[in-house]
């Protein structure tokens, strides 16, 4: 707590200066560019993809990268790897986004409640969070897939459940700091309702922490989601998903390595880009580092 109160201003919400500060750092600028490009590629996949993602041509099965018309080769069904990767990226990012929004949203709400109603709710909520943290995400994923059947829904559920406790802890921590500040007391004195107080004053001042964590978490969630799909719990054929693609290619690792390796490289790039961006955002948003 003391570290945060050394400065006399609260942790500030993102301001116009953030982007400029972010772009000053080459790695950060590059990762931001990469993230933007990846998201654009995912959104524009139907326009960019050279072929139909579901249309196979078994005569082209396992063509290596560099074959005619197939710069990255074809998968075991003879589908263009580029097309599959674009659509796979779309599914993976969407899966990650859904999980971060759902799990992060619920986690943040729990965090605010725990901090705001500290006396009554902090204990129960935080113990619940501790319990949730004790289950590995893969185990939760297996359980959910066993109940609802494997699929994207199950993976999003598992990833959300795994995100809730982490977000709840982070939000509670930063909200506790804000709660002690004078303007909260002042706002309370004006007779504001609790809900309005949380929404108008508490939440905006915790936004930077939420934002940084969400970005970092996004990378982790994509990795975890790919792992769950790799185990066969996620996207079902023919839906392309990066982890599922790697899993399918694993069977042909000695004979057509590109089928597994290329999606793995893409997962690596996505996760790296989001992690670097998350780190850079944290630096840029941290008021103590502001010169």
């Amino acid at each position: 707590m003391s570290a945060a109160t050394e400065t006399d201003e609260p942790i500030a919400p993102p301001r116009p200066g953030v982007l400029a500060r972010l772009l000053r750092e080459p790695a950060a600028a590059f990762s931001l560019l990469l993230v933007v490009l990846l998201i654009a590629a995912a959104i524009l996949a139907p326009l960019l993809a050279p072929t139909d993602p579901y249309d196979n041509d078994l005569s082209l099965a396992m063509q290596p990268p560099g074959s005619e018309g197939l710069p990255l080769g074809a998968d075991a069904q003879g589908r263009d790897m580029i097309t599959r990767l674009l659509f796979g990226l779309r599914v993976s990012l969407l899966m990650g986004f859904a999980a971060v929004v759902l799990g992060g949203g619920l986690g943040a709400a729990l965090g605010f409640l725990a901090a705001f109603y500290h006396r009554w709710l902090d204990g129960p909520i935080m113990r619940l969070v501790d319990i949730m943290l004790s289950f590995p995400a893969i185990l939760v994923g297996l359980a959910i897939a066993a109940i609802f059947g494997p699929g994207i829904f199950s993976v999003v559920m598992a990833l959300s459940v795994a995100t809730v406790p982490l977000m709840a802890r982070i939000v509670r921590g930063s909200a506790m700091v804000v709660m002690r500040l004078d303007y909260i007391e002042a706002a309370r004195a004006t007779g504001m309702t609790d809900a309005r107080l949380i929404w108008k004053h508490l939440a905006p001042n915790c936004l930077s922490a939420i934002f940084v964590f969400a970005t970092l978490r996004f990378g982790q969630v994509i990795l975890l989601g790919s792992a769950l799909s790799f185990l066969g719990l996620g996207a079902q054929p023919p839906v392309p998903e990066l982890g599922a693609m790697a899993s399918e290619g694993r069977n042909f690792l000695f004979f057509a390595p590109h089928i597994a390796v290329v999606p793995c490289i893409l997962i690596f790039i996505v996760v790296l880009a989001f992690n670097v961006l998350g780190d850079a955002l944290r630096d840029a948003l941290d008021p103590r580092l502001r010169v």
Partner: protein, 532 residues
């Protein structure tokens, strides 16, 4: 170029040390190490239906009669000859007099009576009890003669008695071990005897010194040639391949299809193939579920799928496209029924659907009376299923049918496959004869499993019954042919592929010949020798 890279990578795999289970020195002299994918839950003949149980049970025990490599000819084993009564209800088996169990006790007719009665005893809860036929009584006429009396003729009996469920076991050992028979110990008359079992690791057998009653006419040697056999589990296919090439394993039938061609070119590996192998893959339709209850849809699906391309892309030349419900080498195969299975004709498939009133919808999926031509298929999570289902899916998409795939891990999959929540399913299965395979799947009494199609047709039932019970072989053949034609006309399945059986063995192993009864490659393994 691709092949060179593949071969290089394979060689690299061989150089990489295999998993812990295999990280031992090269195998000792005269010990054969068999590599396999999974273990069995137990090794008690009537209580396990797993192929992995059968693999060792065939080595540890014998059946009354054996099945030759042509998968048609019945050979003498424990019974040196037999007679069938004119009414087809009583089989008299004359037993060999020189047989002993692994513990040295002589084998007699009482052991046969005990083992068969134990198999069919409801208390044993054998899932394959029906394979013994409608038994009235099994009795010992004298010490070396057994009378097997049925309530009605059962033309399949001798074939069924070649299966490992009918293995003869020692009563004393069963009574001593109880539920642990086949878990803690085993006592049979087979060419090899139980030494130890470490579940999910290995099962060790040693040579049965007295054994010289191997099935005549099938093997060159009536006795086993190897001192010890170790059945070792190696779940990862790449591990098995590497172990085989580094001498840490000697023989395996669990070769990934994609590796077969490469292994054939590998100098220190020998490959043996069995063409008379009855292990088929198919997709079955629940004929009482929307969309797939329309015979036109099932016919169109059969016409839309390009089997040749699909099977090549899935099995890489180690399976044959199934253009009929059964392998043409099967006893009871009906060629006319095979001709009724539609050939690949996507335009024809579209016409069939048009004529049946399925109109193309805006999303590329056909619609009839507000019903979208979409169905859900279940299966177990295997590499083959994943591959060929996606090929089928793409082919069906081209004619306006949406197929949704849901594959399950084997731990929950069998349970899911027993429900009514899916519209179609994929599966692979071993069979002996046409009557064997068809009675299992198309008899209305076998709903909901294994008749997961819910096929309920009195004409089929009558034909199957006649095929089982008629005394005259010609009548039986005609009846099972009729059943095959009914099923083919109605397109109850989409036949997918017929696997070939390949066995890979290391250079020091000789005499490996793939058999394939119930999917088991080595069977008695009598001719297998180690040269160093």
């Amino acid at each position: 170029m691709r092949k060179t890279i593949g071969a290089a990578l394979l060689a690299l795999a061989a150089a990489v040390p295999a998993g812990d289970a295999l990280a031992q020195a090269a195998n000792p002299r005269n010990t054969l190490v068999v590599l396999r994918e999974i273990d069995a839950d137990n090794y008690d003949p009537p209580r396990s239906t797993a192929r992995s149980a059968g693999e060792t049970i065939y080595m540890m025990s014998d059946t009354l009669v054996a099945l030759d490599f042509d998968m048609r000819t019945i050979r003498p084993l424990l019974a040196e000859r037999w007679e069938v009564s004119p009414d087809g209800k009583t089989y008299t088996f004359h037993l060999r007099r020189d047989v002993t169990f692994c513990d040295g006790r002589p084998f007699t007719a009482d052991d046969v009576v005990y083992s068969i009665n134990r198999w069919i005893d409801p208390a044993t809860r054998s899932p394959v009890r029906w394979r013994a036929g409608p038994v009235k009584e099994v009795r010992a006429r004298d010490a070396y003669t057994v009378e097997y009396e049925l309530n009605e003729p059962f033309g399949e009996l001798l074939y069924q008695l070649t299966l490992f469920f009918a293995s003869i076991v020692d009563r004393n050992s069963v009574e001593r071990l109880g539920q642990n028979f086949g878990v803690q110990g085993f006592n049979g008359t087979g060419p090899y005897c139980w030494v130890s079992w470490t579940p999910r690791q290995d099962l060790v057998l040693q040579r049965h010194p007295n054994y010289r009653w191997g099935p005549a006419g099938m093997y060159q040697n009536p006795s086993p040639q190897v001192d010890r056999v170790v059945w070792r589990i190696a779940p990862e296919s790449q591990t098995r391949l590497a172990a085989l090439q580094t001498g840490q394993g000697d023989v395996t039938q669990y070769v990934p299809p994609i590796a077969v061609q490469q292994l054939q070119r590998t100098p220190n590996i020998r490959m043996s193939r069995q063409d008379n192998y009855f292990w088929d893959h198919f997709m079955g339709f629940k004929v009482d579920k929307p969309v797939v209850n329309d015979p036109a849809v099932r016919r169109a699906i059969n016409m839309a799928v390009n089997r040749d391309a699909m099977v090549r892309a899935t099995w890489f030349g180690t399976a044959v496209p199934a253009d009929s419900y059964l392998n043409p080498a099967t006893t009871g195969f009906d060629a006319e029924a095979a001709r009724l299975v539609p050939r690949f004709d996507p335009d024809g498939a579209r016409r069939v659907l048009d004529e049946a009133g399925w109109r193309m919808g805006s999303d590329g999926v056909r619609v009839k009376d507000g019903q979208r031509a979409s169905f859900l298929v279940y299966g177990l999570q295997t590499q083959a299923a994943q591959q060929y289902l996606q090929a089928i899916q793409a082919d069906l998409r081209r004619i306006g049918i949406e197929m949704r795939i849901q594959l399950w891990d084997a731990t929950v999959g069998w349970g899911r496959l027993a429900t009514q929540e899916f519209d179609a399913f994929v599966m692979s299965y071993p069979y002996l004869t046409a009557t064997d395979g068809f009675s299992l799947y198309f008899n209305s009494a076998n709903r909901p499993t294994p008749n997961r199609m819910n096929w309920n047709d009195p004409a089929t039932d009558a034909a199957l019954r006649e095929a089982q019970t008629a005394v005259d072989p010609a009548v039986r053949a005609a009846a099972i042919g009729r059943a095959q034609r009914i099923i083919a006309e109605n397109n109850v399945w989409l036949p997918v592929a017929r696997e070939q059986l390949w066995v890979a063995s290391a250079a020091r192993v000789e005499g490996v010949r793939a058999h394939g009864i119930y999917g088991v490659a080595l069977y008695k393994g009598l001719d297998i020798r180690l040269t160093r």
